[in-house]
């Protein structure tokens, strides 16, 4: 059963998935990049950011949660979808307070890298300038919620990879924010500098103290090549 291949197409290209794979995973294995932000390898997909929106037989779906099925016709890199993804990325920029040029994560930030990949110079929506809390109570880690995009990767990584439950969401709608498992702050939780949850953060919202510029700007992952380049391969000749 598990080695039966599921055949479908993405933008006309033939893809074969294994049973249980999502559209995003199958595409990635076949060398097709579906842009994503709240998805991370090894974590349960959340379908939260909507950057991975594709059309499956014409219907919009998040590729990171959509199981591959035989005969599906998936649209991924179309002008319409690029536009929709740009809009979603723009929304994430204006919702928070992102200051890429001073950010320790610059060049290694997935939000910034996506903006570059999509050619966003400035968001088309007005900035919301929210007031967000910092938490520097932990000796080795700090949280700057200004840069949080509510992807929930830290929430899931803490539970699924670290076997803890350091982070979770509180509040609803526009007041939703990332919180920690203690009334006072991160310093009162069992979070450790080695937690995988810290690495899971795609932006500069969760950072380790004192190592911000260990790798100089200009020599970071996305300074060298656009996000997704490591995944993309030309279709094999048929």
């Amino acid at each position: 059963m598990s080695d039966r291949r599921i055949a479908f197409t993405i933008d006309g290209r033939k893809i074969e998935a294994r049973a249980g794979q999502t559209v995003l995973e199958a595409a990635e294995e076949a060398g097709v990049y579906v842009p994503r932000l709240c998805w991370m390898k090894g974590l349960t997909p959340a379908g939260a950011c909507r950057v991975c929106t594709v059309r499956v037989n014409g219907r919009p779906q998040s590729a990171c949660t959509q199981p591959a099925a035989p005969g599906m016709i998936v649209e991924n890199d179309t002008e319409e979808l690029r536009e929709l993804r740009r809009d979603v990325i723009d929304m994430l920029f204006v919702e928070g307070n992102h200051f890429c040029m001073f950010c320790e994560k610059s060049g290694a930030c997935e939000l910034q890298a996506l903006a570059y990949r999509f050619g966003i110079a400035a968001p088309k929506y007005p900035f919301m300038f929210p007031r967000r809390e910092l938490d520097a109570s932990h000796p080795d880690i700090f949280i700057d919620r200004n840069r949080c995009i509510l992807c929930g990767r830290c929430v899931r990584a803490s539970q699924e990879l670290d076997g803890k439950h350091v982070f979770d969401f509180v509040g609803r709608g526009r007041d939703k924010r990332i919180a920690v498992d203690a009334e006072a702050g991160l310093g009162d939780t069992d979070c450790a500098a080695t937690d995988r949850a810290i690495d899971a953060c795609p932006t500069g919202s969760l950072l380790r103290k004192r190592v911000g510029f260990a790798v100089p700007v200009g020599r970071r992952e996305f300074d060298r090549q656009p996000i997704g380049s490591d995944i993309e391969r030309p279709a094999a000749a048929e």
Binding site: G47, A48, R50, D87, M91, D168, K176
Partner: protein
């Protein structure tokens, strides 16, 4: 925390077997006792249930009926839905603020009163309305509001206030000793299916039990019954999927969350036909092979709970619930009531399930669908109150009887909740296929200019649509019909509806959490007289992005107020637009933009001070 308080909290947890999936019930009981769920209490609950504290905090902060900060002994929650505001809720709000000397969102220094706003509480047929603690106060004018506060201040007695506010009980079961509410049914036009003559409890069940479960499902398919909660999914098919899913544990959930603004039909069904609802649920239990049914009742309808519990007791006593129901060996089924806690999103079936599992009311990832993996991971069918009543009546009277009413694709009758600018608000049971014009005549709409059909997640239509039919293939609706007379500002109403969605979005996905705020921002700019032609394209594009990329039905329909008004009432927008001067952005005002900087530095801008309000 005193030892007594701690004992109360652990007692509540204990009574529910320290089961974390019952967290919502635990929190509601604790809130009822202390008026809030404070930090220490959250710690204690987390420790007792062995769950992380942040998870408890996440749930408390999600629901409008739960609070982490203390509030007044009397909490007044004024409904600020569109219709209530059209009918003077703002004047009531002013009177309350004035009388109490506080703003909404605040508590009086003596800790006696808190003022809050509530999204639609299901009383738009008798608006303005408020919830005073658990008590519904319909038809609340500003002088009544003032008097109520004065009485309460003088006597300091909640019972006195209740007497004043509820001088007359409503009609029917609203006057039942277990309800004693001032709410009125406003049942204007009963029809054959739901509000026909009351039938004997057990009549439908008797016929169902004479068939096999598969035959019961086939009967619903033959009747071509479609869900009344909004989406119109064929009920027989949903039950078939749920039944076909593996395992031996299944659940049937009755969705009585009724949160769509302007909808109040389920309220009247629950008041007057509770037996019919439970009958439909029990038939469902049999058809699905479920042993447990759960009615998810919105927190705003808590006043109906004692009556509903009483009816359940009666049904248990007469063998319509429990073991070997009606002598059918092995058919065991019972129903419990789950209270909601003030979140519109929890009407969405997967969010409703999350909420019942003691979690934040976030919708779940689909697939898997509830029919495969629902409540506690078991196959679950979620059905609307009205749908389940139809089920009972179809079993009782036969599918032929049912499908002879309505249209071929939309069989039976539909309950409409009518409010707004008409003289006979209330419930109308009409056959599907009736035209909008006929409905407007029926309720004596005066000079109807626009009709919001299906609530904010439906659409706003104008006169050119009045000859269209109410049915699944034309004007589909969960039942809300808000009538707007001449002179109403549809752009203002669209903005009001966006405010509702901004308030009710769970915040899980980006487009709904952020996009609705952006839509509202631009509508407000236009209403403030700062809109230009390009803003209409901006709104249209943004609305389309939110609609296409949102994760669940809330965000997929929240842009509809904007899209449908732009489509049907574009000239209303155009009237509000201005021509930008010299290509400058109409919405930009330099002095407003400099405001925060001026406040911080304590001085005016050297460059711009002379220009005053000029752009």
């Amino acid at each position: 925390m005193s030892p007594e308080s701690a004992a109360f909290v652990t007692g509540v947890c204990e009574a529910l077997d320290n089961d974390p999936t019952r967290l919502l019930d635990i929190l509601l009981e604790v809130e009822a006792q202390f008026g809030h769920v404070g930090g220490e209490v959250m710690d204690l609950i987390a420790e007792t249930l062995k769950v992380p504290r942040v998870q408890v905090e996440g749930v408390v902060s999600f629901y409008a009926f739960l609070h982490s900060e203390p509030r007044g002994k009397v909490v007044i929650r004024l409904c600020n839905d569109v219709i209530d505001r059209l009918r003077g809720a703002d004047r009531v709000a002013e009177a309350l603020e004035d009388e109490l000397g506080i703003h909404f969102g605040e508590t009086t220094p003596d800790g006696l009163f808190s003022l809050e706003h509530a999204s639609c509480i299901g009383m738009t047929d008798q608006s303005p309305a408020a919830l005073v603690n658990d008590v519904v106060v319909p038809s609340l004018g500003s002088s009544k509001a003032r008097r109520g506060i004065q009485v309460l201040k003088e006597k300091g007695d909640f019972d006195e206030l209740q007497k004043l506010l509820i001088r007359d009980h409503g009609d029917g079961n609203n006057a039942h000793p277990l309800v004693r509410s001032a709410v009125r049914n406003n049942l204007r036009q009963p029809g054959a299916v739901i509000f026909g003559p009351k039938t004997k409890p057990g009549a439908a069940l008797e016929r169902a039990l004479a068939m096999s479960p598969a035959e019961v499902i086939r009967e619903l398919k033959t009747a071509r019954l479609r869900g009344r909660g909004g989406a119109g999914f064929p009920t027989g098919m949903k039950w078939e999927f749920t039944r076909a899913a593996g395992g031996d544990e299944r659940y049937l959930i009755c969705n009585a969350d009724e949160g769509e603004p302007g909808t109040f039909k389920d309220r009247v069904i629950l008041t007057e036909r509770p037996d019919l609802v439970f009958e439909g649920m029990t038939v469902g239990g049999y058809a699905l092979g479920a042993r447990q049914g759960i009615l998810y009742l919105r927190g705003e309808y808590a006043y109906l709970r004692p009556l509903l519990e009483h009816v359940l007791e009666e049904r248990r006593a007469s063998g319509l619930l429990g073991h070997d129901i009606q002598g059918k060996p092995g058919f065991d089924f019972d129903i419990r009531i789950q209270m909601g806690a003030g979140a519109y999103i929890c009407g969405e079936e997967t969010a409703l399930i999350s909420s019942m599992e003691g979690k934040r009311g976030d919708p779940k990832t689909r697939p898997p669908f509830p029919a495969q993996e629902g409540y506690l991971g078991k196959p679950t069918s979620v059905n609307n109150v009205e749908t389940l009543c139809c089920v009972a009546r179809i079993l009782e009277m036969g599918s032929g009887w049912f499908s002879s009413m309505g249209t071929p694709a939309s069989t039976g009758t539909k309950l409409l909740s009518i409010s707004g600018d008409c003289s006979r608000h209330g419930i109308y049971e009409v056959p599907f296929g009736i035209t909008l014009r006929e409905v407007l005549e029926m309720c004596f709409a005066d000079e109807p200019f626009a009709v919001q059909i299906g609530g904010p997640s439906g659409q706003m239509v104008g006169m050119e649509a009045f000859d269209r039919k109410i049915c699944f293939d034309d004007l589909a609706t969960g039942g809300a019909l808000m009538i707007l007379g001449a002179g109403r500002n549809v752009v203002e109403i669209a903005a009001e509806q966006l405010r509702f969605f901004v308030h009710e979005s769970c915040g899980y996905c980006t487009p709904c959490r952020v996009g609705n705020v952006l839509l509202l921002e631009r509508l407000e700019q236009i209403l403030a007289g700062n809109g230009e032609a390009a803003d209409l394209d901006y709104l249209e594009q943004l609305a389309r992005s939110v609609k296409t990329t949102s994760r669940c039905g809330l965000g997929q329909s929240s842009p509809r107020p904007v899209l449908s008004t732009l489509e049907n009432f574009r000239e209303e927008y155009e009237k509000l637009l201005i021509e930008p001067v010299d290509g400058q952005l109409a919405s930009f005002d330099i002095n407003t933009a400099l405001g925060p900087a001026k406040a911080l530095t304590g001085r005016d801008s050297v460059h711009f001070e002379q220009q005053g309000g000029e752009r």
